[in-house]
C-alpha cells in the first residue's frame, strides 16, 4: 500500500528538526513527506487518518538496539524486532553487532541488511564492531564495515578496555567520520557486579557496580576524543557523575555525544526489590525481591542519578534517547540474580516510559521528541529521517500521549518478554506507525 | 459476647478439695502416685491438687508439666502455638500417673498427652482428672475424676481462669455473638 497517499489530519505536529510544534495536517505521497500545513485537502484515494487529540512526529530513531540475529534467534529476530519497533513508534533501528558471528566483517553486515530487506518492517542500519569479535585486542576492519553500510562502531556488551586501543580506534574511525559508541565500564571495578552498588545491593547480598565504573571510563573516552579529534558517543549513561563529566566536556567543545535509555530515565535500583516506587527501602524482602527482570547493564541506579539523567536530557547534555532493547528468552531470566542475563526488552514500552518525566513536568515533550528524532539523525548525519520536512522519508509516528495502558508482556510482539514493567501502568501509546509511506503498525481500536 | 459464670473462686476451691479426696480414695493413698498437668492451665491445677493431697494425707505426689503441642494431630495449615518447656523431673516407669487438664472436650489433647507420656516411660496406669467436662467427645476418652460436668453447645467456649495465670479464679461459658 505504499503507493496510496496518506493524509494525517488535525494532530499536534511536533517536528523539532523543522522547528514545528502546532496543529497541522501531514500529507504523505510516494513514500515521502509531501506537505505539512495547517489544512491540507487530501488527493482522491488518499487514506485519511484522524489524528485529533494525538501527536504526530517523525518516526523515532533508535541508535541502540539488539536484534540478536544472526545467532540468537531464540531471543529475537530481525522480523520480530522490527515489528516490536514499529509497535513502539520506531522506524529506524541501529543494530548492535554483538551477534553470532559478530558484525566485525562485511558478510555479517550484508546479512543483517538483507534480513531487514526481506523480513523487516522498518529501517535497520547496522553498527560494526570496533575490535575483532569485540575482544578488545585488535581493531576490526572499520573501512570494510563502513563500506558495507555500518553507520557507527561499537563493541557493546563490552567496553573497549585498552586505553591505547581506544585511542587508535577513535583516530582511525575519524577517517570515515563515523562515531564510536562505547559501553563505559571499567572491568576491574565491575568485577561480576549484578546491580548498583549501594544499600539495596548490601541488603540483598549482591555484588554492586559503583558509579565510578562508568565515570572513570567516560572521562577517559572524552579525553581521548579530545586528543584524537575522533567522534565519541557514550552509550546508555546512568549516573549523575557521568552527566557532569559530559556537561563539562561539551562546555570545552569536545565532540562528545551520549544517550540515555528509557529505563535509566525512570527506574531505580528499587526495581530489583520488586518495587517500581521509591518507598520501603528498609522494608522486609519478599519473594518478589531479586527481580531478574531489573538486571541490566549499566544497572538501575539511585533516584539522585535518575533525576540527574532527566535533567541532563532536558539541558541537552544528553543528546538522545536510545532504547538498548535487549531481549532474552524466558530461561535466561528464570534463575537467581547472579546467573541471570543482563537486559530489558524496551521497544514496546519506550514511549510510555519516556513520557513519564514529561507528565511529571521534568522535561518538555518537544525536547523528548527531539531526542528520539532530530538529534539521533544529526549523529547519523542524515537529513532525510528524523524530520517531517518536505521530501524526507515518510517515517511518521502518531501517538496518544495521555492514553493509559497496562503492560502485558504476553501481548508483546518482541520475543523478549523481559521487563520489570510487567503489570505497570504507563501513560502514552502509539496509535499508528508509518514507514516509507506504508502503515506498518496500527493499534487495535 | 455473652459470658456466664459457672464456678466462682470458692466453688473451684471446694471442687478441687473434693477431687483430691477422690484421687486418694481411688488410689488408696499417695504411694506410687504422680500428677502430670497439661500446660498451660492443667499444671497449676495439678499443683493445687498436690497441695490438697499433702494437707489430707501428709505427703504430696510429685508434679510434672507436659506441653502437648508437639503431639497434636490438628495443626495442619494452622498457626503454631508456642511451646513451653515440658518438665517431668521424676521417672514415669511403674508409676500411677494422673493426667490433669482444665477442660475435657474432644479428647484429642488427652490422646496427645498419653502419646507423650508413653515416650517418657511405661506408667503402670494412666488416669485422667479434669476441672470441667464439657462433652462432645470425638475419641473414646473418659475422665476418672471430674470437677464439674457442663453441657455446652459447640459454638460456646469454656474459659477457665486461674490466679496463677489470669489473676483470678473462675470458670466461664462464653457465647459467640448470636444474631438477633
Amino acid at each position: 500500500m505504499k503507493s496510496q497517499p496518506i493524509l494525517i489530519k488535525g494532530g499536534r505536529v511536533i517536528d523539532p528538526a523543522g522547528g514545528h510544534d502546532a496543529r497541522a495536517d501531514v500529507l504523505i505521497k510516494n513514500g515521502t513527506i509531501a506537505d505539512v500545513a495547517k489544512t491540507i485537502a487530501g488527493p482522491d484515494g488518499a487514506r485519511v487518518i484522524d489524528a485529533s487529540g494525538l501527536v504526530v512526529a517523525p518516526g523515532f530513531i533508535d541508535l541502540h538496539t539488539h536484534l540478536r540475529e544472526p545467532g540468537f534467534e531464540d531471543k529475537e529476530t530481525v522480523a520480530t524486532g522490527t515489528r516490536a519497533a514499529a509497535k513502539g513508534g520506531f522506524t529506524t533501528l541501529c543494530a548492535m553487532p554483538n551477534t553470532k558471528p559478530p558484525a566485525d566483517n562485511p558478510a555479517t553486515i550484508d546479512y543483517v541488511l538483507r534480513k531487514a530487506r526481506e523480513d523487516g518492517v522498518v529501517r535497520v542500519l547496522p553498527i560494526g564492531c570496533v575490535t575483532k569479535a569485540s575482544a578488545g585486542k585488535e581493531l576490526a576492519e572499520m573501512g570494510e564495515l563502513a563500506q558495507a553500510g555500518a553507520v557507527a562502531f561499537s563493541d557493546d556488551g563490552h567496553p573497549v578496555g585498552d586505553d591505547n586501543l581506544m585511542r587508535q580506534a577513535l583516530a582511525y574511525a575519524s577517517a570515515f567520520d563515523l562515531p564510536i559508541s562505547n559501553h563505559c565500564e571499567v572491568d576491574e571495578l565491575f568485577q561480576g557486579g549484578v546491580m548498583n552498588e549501594g544499600w539495596v545491593a548490601t541488603r540483598l547480598g549482591l555484588r554492586g557496580v559503583p558509579n565510578s565504573a562508568e565515570e572513570v571510563m567516560a572521562a577517559r573516552d572524552i579525553s581521548l576524543a579530545a586528543l584524537t579529534g575522533g567522534r565519541i558517543h557514550l552509550a546508555h549513561i546512568s549516573t549523575a557523575g557521568t552527566v557532569e563529566i559530559v556537561r563539562r566536556a561539551k562546555e570545552q567543545g569536545v565532540a562528545v555525544t551520549c544517550e540515555a535509555t528509557p529505563h535509566h530515565l525512570t527506574l531505580t535500583e528499587q526495581a530489583v526489590l520488586g518495587r517500581l516506587d521509591d518507598n520501603g527501602p528498609f522494608e522486609p524482602l519478599t519473594t518478589a525481591s531479586y527481580n531478574t527482570y531489573a538486571k541490566v547493564n549499566p544497572p538501575l541506579r539511585t533516584r539522585k542519578d535518575v533525576d540527574a539523567v532527566v535533567r541532563g536530557l532536558k539541558d541537552g547534555v544528553i543528546d538522545i534517547i536510545a532504547t538498548d532493547h535487549a531481549p532474552h528468552n524466558r530461561t535466561d531470566k528464570l534463575c537467581p540474580m547472579a546467573e541471570a542475563a543482563f537486559g530489558i526488552s524496551v521497544l514496546e514500552t519506550a514511549l510510555g516510559s519516556v513520557l513519564s518525566p514529561v507528565h511529571g513536568k521534568a522535561v518538555g515533550l518537544p525536547r523528548v521528541i527531539e531526542a528520539l528524532t532530530a538529534a539521533p539523525a544529526r549523529i547519523l548525519k542524515r537529513t532525510d529521517i528524523g524530520t517531517l520536512r518536505k521530501g524526507a522519508q515518510a517515517d511518521v509516528v502518531i501517538f496518544d500521549p495521555d492514553a493509559s495502558w497496562t503492560v502485558d508482556t504476553s501481548k508483546f510482539v518482541s520475543k523478549g518478554k523481559n521487563t520489570p514493567l510487567e503489570g505497570a501502568t504507563l501513560k502514552g501509546r502509539v496509535t499508528a506507525t508509518i514507514f516509507g509511506g506504508a502503515v506498518v503498525y496500527e493499534a487495535k481500536a | 459476647m455473652a459470658t456466664r459464670t459457672i464456678l466462682n473462686a470458692d466453688e473451684i476451691r471446694r471442687t478441687l478439695a473434693r477431687m483430691a479426696h477422690q484421687v486418694l480414695e481411688h488410689n488408696r493413698g499417695v504411694e506410687g502416685l504422680a500428677l502430670v498437668g497439661l500446660l498451660t492451665r492443667g499444671y497449676p491445677i495439678a499443683q493445687r491438687l498436690a497441695t490438697w493431697i499433702e494437707t489430707i494425707e501428709g505427703a504430696a505426689p510429685p508434679v510434672g508439666a507436659l506441653d502437648i503441642s508437639l503431639y497434636r494431630d490438628d495443626l495442619a495449615g494452622k498457626m503454631r502455638p508456642t511451646i513451653h518447656r515440658t518438665d517431668i523431673p521424676f521417672p514415669i516407669e511403674g508409676r500411677r500417673v494422673v493426667l490433669i487438664d482444665d477442660v475435657l472436650y474432644t479428647g484429642r489433647s488427652i490422646r496427645a498427652a498419653m502419646d507423650a507420656l508413653t515416650d517418657f516411660g511405661r506408667a503402670s496406669s494412666i488416669q485422667l482428672g479434669v476441672l470441667v467436662d464439657r462433652g462432645h467427645r470425638e475419641l473414646p476418652i473418659r475422665a476418672d475424676f471430674v470437677g464439674k460436668n457442663i453441657p455446652t453447645a459447640r459454638d460456646e467456649e469454656v474459659a477457665v481462669r486461674l490466679a496463677e495465670i489470669d489473676g483470678a479464679d473462675e470458670v466461664l461459658i462464653v457465647n459467640s455473638v448470636k444474631t438477633a
Partner: protein
C-alpha cells in the same frame, strides 16, 4: 519416698506469645520481635526434647523435609537432618555433588522436580544470594534458608541469639561485637537484623575494605534506617571494650588475593580475637564463632577453646533452633500439596 511438694516451675508460661503463621524462613528482616521471642521460647522447649531419653516427637510425622545443599556443609546439613528426624519427619538429602545440578540442570528445573516430590519443607543452601527467594516464588513448599550467597543465614543468627539469651537472660541492651569479613558474611547480616530488632547494641568491626561501602558513608543517618544505631569501628580494641559478646567471623582466605587485604598475617595481627583483646571485654563476655574456624587467623586457639567460648554450645543449640523453625512453618495442607 516423698518428693518435694512442688515440682520446679517450668519456664514462664504467662501471656500468650504470638504464634508464627509463616510460610518461609528466608531472613530475619521480616521477623517481628514477637516472632523472634516465640522462636527462642520454642527453641528452649525443643532443647528439653533433645535432653530426653527418647529423643523423638511425632510432630512432623508424614512430612517430607528435603535438604538441598548446593554448597558443601556437613555441620549445618547434619543439624537440619537431626532436627527433622527428632520431629519424625522424613528427611531426604539432596547434595550438589553427583546430582543433576552438576549435569547443568537449571535451578528452575530442579525446583520443579523437588515440587513433584511433594516436599513439605525445603531447606536450601546455595552460593547465590536470593536463590531461596527464587524457590519460594516458584514452589508450594515451605522454604527455609540455610545460607544464600552473602545475603542471609537466619537459622545461624537465631541460634546465636538463643545462645546469648541463655547466658545473659536478655538481648535488650546487650553489647555485641561482630568482628571480621562483614562485607561477605551472611551470618553477620542476619545477626544484624535479629540483634537490632531485639534491642542489642551492635558494633561491627573490620578493616574498611571488608565493610559494606554504604556502611562507611553517611547514608545510615536516615531516620528509618534499620541499622542507624549500629556502630562501625575499624579498631578492634575499641570495639571489644566492655562487650558482652564477641563474635568472630570466618575470614575467607581468598580475600588477600582479591585485593581486600595485604596479607592474612596483617589481618591476624590487627583483628585476631586473642586473650589480650578478650581481657578488654566484659568480665562475663562470651566468645562465639559460626564455624568452621581458621584458628590463628580470626581467632586464637586459646580463646576458641577457652572458658568463655560457647562455640560448641552453638552447635547444640543449632539443632534445637532448627527444630523450632521446622515446627513453625505452616506446611501446605495435603490438598495444596498435590501437583495441580
Amino acid at each position: 519416698m516423698t518428693m518435694p511438694a512442688r515440682a520446679r516451675k517450668p519456664e514462664p508460661y504467662a501471656g500468650a506469645a504470638v504464634a508464627l503463621p509463616r510460610k518461609h524462613v528466608l531472613d530475619l528482616d521480616d521477623f517481628t520481635l514477637d516472632e523472634i521471642e516465640t522462636t527462642l521460647q520454642n527453641t528452649d522447649a525443643m532443647r528439653e526434647v533433645l535432653g530426653r531419653e527418647i529423643r523423638k516427637v511425632p510432630t512432623l510425622r508424614g512430612k517430607t523435609v528435603l535438604t538441598v545443599f548446593y554448597e558443601a556443609s556437613t555441620r549445618t546439613r547434619v543439624s537440619f537432618e537431626q532436627a527433622g528426624k527428632v520431629l519424625s519427619a522424613d528427611v531426604i538429602n539432596v547434595s550438589s555433588s553427583g546430582s543433576s545440578t552438576e549435569k547443568g540442570e537449571s535451578l528452575y528445573n530442579t525446583a520443579l522436580t523437588l515440587q513433584a516430590m511433594n516436599a513439605d519443607i525445603i531447606v536450601m543452601r546455595h552460593p547465590h544470594s536470593g536463590a531461596p527467594y527464587f524457590l519460594a516464588r516458584h514452589l508450594k513448599s515451605c522454604v527455609i534458608n540455610a545460607g544464600d550467597g552473602t545475603h542471609a543465614h537466619p537459622t545461624q543468627a537465631l541460634l546465636d541469639m538463643y545462645t546469648m539469651k541463655r547466658h545473659f537472660g536478655k538481648l535488650q541492651g546487650l553489647k555485641v561485637v561482630i568482628v571480621g569479613d562483614i562485607l561477605y558474611s551472611r551470618v553477620g547480616r542476619s545477626n544484624l537484623w535479629g540483634l537490632t530488632k531485639a534491642g542489642a547494641e551492635v558494633t561491627l568491626c573490620a578493616p574498611p575494605t571488608l565493610l559494606p561501602p554504604d556502611f562507611m558513608s553517611t547514608s545510615r543517618q536516615h531516620h528509618d534506617h534499620p541499622f542507624a544505631n549500629v556502630r562501625v569501628e575499624t579498631n578492634v580494641e575499641k570495639a571489644v571494650e566492655g562487650a558482652h559478646v564477641v563474635m568472630a567471623l570466618r575470614l575467607q582466605l581468598e580475600r588477600q588475593r582479591s585485593g581486600h587485604l595485604p596479607s592474612l598475617r596483617e589481618y591476624s595481627r590487627m583483628y585476631c580475637i586473642n586473650p589480650r583483646r578478650m581481657a578488654l571485654a566484659h568480665p562475663d563476655a562470651l566468645v562465639m564463632h559460626p564455624g568452621p574456624m581458621n584458628e590463628g587467623i580470626e581467632i586464637d586457639p586459646e580463646v576458641a577453646h577457652g572458658a568463655r567460648s560457647v562455640i560448641e554450645e552453638q552447635v547444640t543449640n543449632g539443632v534445637a533452633v532448627r527444630m523450632a523453625l521446622l515446627y513453625s512453618v505452616v506446611t501446605p495442607v495435603p490438598s495444596e500439596r498435590r501437583p495441580s
